[in-house]
């Protein structure tokens, strides 16, 4: 079924109205979760990243920072440039300011080089959620790892437990912050800010519970991996053509 622009607009408008009614209701009656078009049980979110398409422009990093008010010097997403030397020794890796302004041209000559965008992997068996002492971070019913900034103590145990380095302490709220998979967007039928602004389509939002989502074909036809599979975190960000030298 083709979803037209008008449908999108109408759905967006309806969701907006419902959400605001719901929010008002919650204020008045203290009720949680008013009925609305988005049902968490119908979705299981992740992302697919095609390394061969990433050009290291850093648009995703900028878009994320704009959309989510990410403080300067901290990163909900970032891009790394790998330069693998002859002999496949330790790669030379850089991420100047998270690649928010792209990369300066490299003077190195190496065996091969490529870009790797990284973000929170929204692990289904998340070690960060496991260690939170109070339940301020959690996996939502639709598979997104979120932080409750009104409940977080700022102990940073989760920051230590994340194998991927995707969490940080927000300097203003003094609570832990991280990629939310643009939850406020994807629950309204939009895509994440990073995927929206990726010019080559290297990053794509994936909904594993949607039978028509391209992720199924992507996983079936390509050689894919997650970052640090040995950590057994059930990461949900799948990389196509990720080289073994990537850390």
């Amino acid at each position: 079924m083709e979803i037209t622009r008008r449908d999108m607009f109408q759905m967006g408008g309806k969701l907006l109205v419902l959400a605001s009614v719901g929010a008002t209701l919650e204020q008045i009656t203290g009720a949680e979760e008013p009925p609305e078009a988005y049902r968490m049980a119908d979705h299981w979110w992740g992302m697919i990243i095609d390394i061969d398409k990433c050009i290291g422009c850093g648009n995703c990093v900028r878009a994320c920072a704009n959309e989510n008010g990410v403080p300067k010097g901290y990163f909900r997403t970032w891009v790394e440039r790998y330069e693998v030397p002859e002999g496949y020794a330790n790669p030379k890796v850089s991420s100047p300011d998270g690649a928010i302004n792209g990369f300066p041209p490299s003077k190195e000559t190496s065996l091969k080089s490529f870009y790797v965008p990284k973000l929170c992997n929204h692990c289904a068996d998340s070690p960060c959620v496991q260690v939170c002492p109070v339940g301020a971070t959690f996996v939502s019913p639709d598979g997104v790892v979120l932080v409750d900034k009104d409940y977080c103590l700022g102990c940073r145990y989760c920051v230590q437990a994340c194998p991927y380095g995707c969490r940080y302490l927000h300097p203003d709220t003094e609570t832990v912050d991280k990629c939310t998979l643009c939850y406020h967007r994807i629950t309204k039928g939009l895509t994440t800010a990073c995927c929206e602004n990726c010019p080559t389509g290297a990053r794509q939002l994936a909904d594993f519970k949607n039978p028509k989502d391209p992720v199924h074909e992507f996983l079936r036809t390509n050689k894919v991996t997650v970052l640090k599979p040995q950590m057994a975190t059930e990461a949900k960000v799948y990389y196509k053509d990720l080289d073994g030298s990537v850390r």
Binding site: A19, S113, Y183, P199
Partner: protein, 151 residues
């Protein structure tokens, strides 16, 4: 037996202190614990709403195309077909809401080279040039029209 009871009677007192403390804790807990905590898991369900309430900054290219159909058509015919409008024009949710919020046009000097400056790490088939040699100081859009950059 009576003696034993009398001589160990003082042990009741720390026990009572402890029980009193436990009682106070249970009362405080009932009052202070967030309602519906644990509904979906070990967290406040209100946190999900809190995250969802975050304002939207990027409108999304489908929104742009609703008013700017002609630019969308030009773009669809060229190599920038899959480059979202806001990738170059910046976040435009405010503009989509109220058209009089005019967006600032992007700085060509820095914008185009971010994607198209030649670099060994970029996929070889991706169009990239050493900008200093390529344009001889001219701005990119002196020759290439951004919506459809084909010459």
């Amino acid at each position: 037996m009576g003696n034993l009871f009398r001589d160990s009677g003082h042990l009741i007192r720390p026990a009572l202190v402890l029980l009193a403390g436990l009682g106070v804790f249970m009362v405080v807990r009932q009052a202070v614990i967030p309602k519906a905590f644990g509904q979906y898991g070990h967290y406040r369900p209100g946190a999900i709403d809190l995250v969802r309430r975050h304002p939207i900054t990027y409108a999304g290219q489908q929104q742009c195309a609703m008013c700017h159909e002609d630019q969308a058509k030009v773009r669809a015919e060229g190599r920038h077909a899959h480059v979202a409008c806001e990738t170059c024009h910046g976040p435009q949710a405010k503009h989509a809401e109220d058209g009089s919020n005019l967006p600032k046009l992007p700085e060509v000097a820095t914008l185009c080279v971010r994607c198209h400056e030649k670099d060994a790490a970029k996929p070889p088939k991706f169009p990239q040039v050493a900008s200093a040699e390529h344009s001889g100081g001219m701005a990119c859009n002196d020759c290439h029209k951004p919506h459809n950059p084909h010459l």
